[in-house]
């Protein structure tokens, strides 16, 4: 039997804000090589779960292990590429070219006073190439479309050579064609580079065929190893709290 080490291992995670239980007794495991999606109603705690995984918020109780290490002892943050939801909301006049933004992915790896090495340059170029933004290198990030910005943010995350990519609602404010292209690129990163993927989405239909694990988050968590089964209308309706209809499609 092939052993797959766990990237994220969450046990009995509870998060409370001023008495309100946002997440309750969540248990979750993401293994190396998995392609996972998190779905759930707005306000159900999806983004909170990601923020807890990334150490941006502190859990009320429970444990989080990253790559087998307790989160408070974890140092190798470059192994996790994180693209938050509001990445697309960038001030139009912010003075940052696409290349400068992608280069930020190397900052945590480079030491103090260090200049960009040949390897840094190669990885930055490679990341831009992979996400198809090389030709935008000298454009200001704030001047790009939502879809282009999203790809730049993924390229930045790739520049740290992550083993897992966490993307929060990647297609907010992105047109349908860019969404399709984005899912293709995500799939390609998973299959060709072996990067594990964990992303939040509302687009259940389009991802159902690709993913290996689907997490429903609505205060608590329901996991399925067979997403195609869970994407049945009655399950979605029950979780979202109203009648829902799922259309499997390929944009």
């Amino acid at each position: 039997m092939k052993f797959s080490p766990s990237l994220f291992d969450v046990r009995d995670l509870t998060f409370t804000v001023r008495g309100n239980e946002i997440l309750k007794s969540v248990n979750l495991t993401v293994l190396k090589g998995e392609y996972c999606a998190i779905i759930g109603p707005n306000g159900g705690g999806k983004t909170t779960l990601i923020r807890l995984l990334m150490g941006l918020d502190k859990p009320t109780s429970g444990t989080i292990k990253l790559f087998g290490v307790e989160q408070n002892k974890f140092q190798a943050w470059h192994k996790i590429g994180y693209v938050p939801q509001r990445s697309a909301l960038i001030d139009a006049s912010f003075p940052a070219t696409v290349r400068e933004v992608v280069a930020m992915g190397r900052y945590a790896i480079r030491g103090l006073f260090s200049v960009e090495s040949d390897e840094d340059r190669r990885i930055i170029e490679e990341s831009m190439e992979q996400m198809g933004v090389s030709d935008l290198r000298n454009r200001l990030i704030g001047h790009l479309s939502g879809g282009q910005r999203q790809r730049v943010m993924i390229a930045r995350a790739l520049a740290s050579h992550p083993e897992v990519l966490i993307v929060d609602e990647p297609n907010t404010g992105v047109d349908v064609e860019s969404q399709h292209r984005f899912y293709e690129q995500l799939r390609s990163l998973h299959t060709t580079r072996g990067i594990s993927i964990l992303f939040i989405t509302h687009d259940v239909g389009v991802i159902a065929a690709d993913i290996s694990k689907l997490f429903f988050v609505n205060q608590t968590l329901l996991v399925s190893q067979t997403p195609q089964e869970i994407v049945r209308c009655e399950e979605i309706s029950r979780l979202y709290g109203n009648p829902s209809h799922v259309v499997c499609h390929n944009h």
Binding site: S93, P95, L112
Partner: protein, 265 residues
């Protein structure tokens, strides 16, 4: 024109002005991008409290200004990051509170209005050798810290949350940045004055940003604007007996207007 540099007080004023211009433009770029521009204005007012205390007790006002500004910067950052109070509200409280305190101290002392005027608006005559040594030393340390953590500070300015998620020690660097800015502002009051230093930190990066370039080029242009403004402002101050701070700020404003006109939408 070059003969003005024969005067030792002008040599000191230029040396101090050029040090301040570079430090203000570099640190100002970070606070402008973080929508934290009012920090410079607030700490400048806090420095005035230090100056007032210094004049009152007969100690070097520059040291007292540095101490007051540093303590306030740490309190502001603590309230912002730990208590999650709105940045602009905290700054407004410190700005008016420190000004009130400075006015009370000044009115209690009542005897140093003339020297206080030079701290409010800057004076090329007021830079002493001791001031220049303090500026050179503290300025070198401040610049070294800004350069040492340059890329991390840029990352934080762009996206604080992702920087934190990447393992960058954001809280520590934020405290470091406000501390450096506090010292720079306190150092600047001799040349530019407490009421006008905010302009030297904010206008150069804001004008440079209008040209739509990447960060490194924007910062370079920002430094050039600050340096040229200081040179022209100090010269105007010498030839026309103007308060140096006001002359520098008017020059900065001119650059800002030119940047706006050239880059009309």
């Amino acid at each position: 024109m070059i003969e003005m540099l024969n005067y030792p007080f002008m040599q000191r004023a230029f040396a101090a002005g050029l040090i301040i211009a570079i430090l203000a433009a570099v640190s100002g770029s970070f606070i402008v991008l973080r929508r934290y521009s009012l920090l410079s204005e607030t700490l400048a007012h806090v420095s005035l409290v230090g100056v007032s205390i210094g004049l009152l007790i007969g100690s070097n006002p520059l040291w007292m200004a540095i101490a007051a500004s540093l303590i306030a910067s740490w309190m502001i950052e603590y309230l912002r990051s730990v208590h999650h109070l709105y940045s602009d509200s905290i700054l407004a409280i410190f700005l008016s509170g420190s000004l009130a305190l400075a006015i009370i101290i000044v009115s209690l002392a009542g005897s140093f209005n003339a020297s206080l005027f030079s701290y409010l608006f800057g004076s090329i005559l007021s830079v002493t050798n001791e001031d220049l040594i303090i500026m050179a030393l503290a300025g070198t340390v401040g610049m070294a810290l800004l350069l040492l953590f340059f890329k991390e500070l840029y990352f934080i300015a762009f996206d604080e949350e992702v920087a934190r998620a990447s393992g960058i020690r954001v809280a520590l660097l934020n405290f470091m940045l406000v501390s450096v800015i506090a010292v720079i502002i306190a150092l600047s009051i001799r040349v530019v004055g407490t009421l006008l230093i905010g302009a030297l930190m904010v206008i150069p990066p804001v004008a440079a940003i209008r040209f739509g370039m990447g960060f490194f080029k924007t910062m370079l242009l920002s430094i050039i604007i600050a340096l040229v403004s200081v040179i022209i402002g100090l010269s105007a101050s010498f030839f026309f007996s103007l308060p140096s701070g006001a002359a520098i700020v008017l020059c900065l404003l001119l650059f800002f207007i030119v940047a706006l006109v050239i880059n009309l939408p």
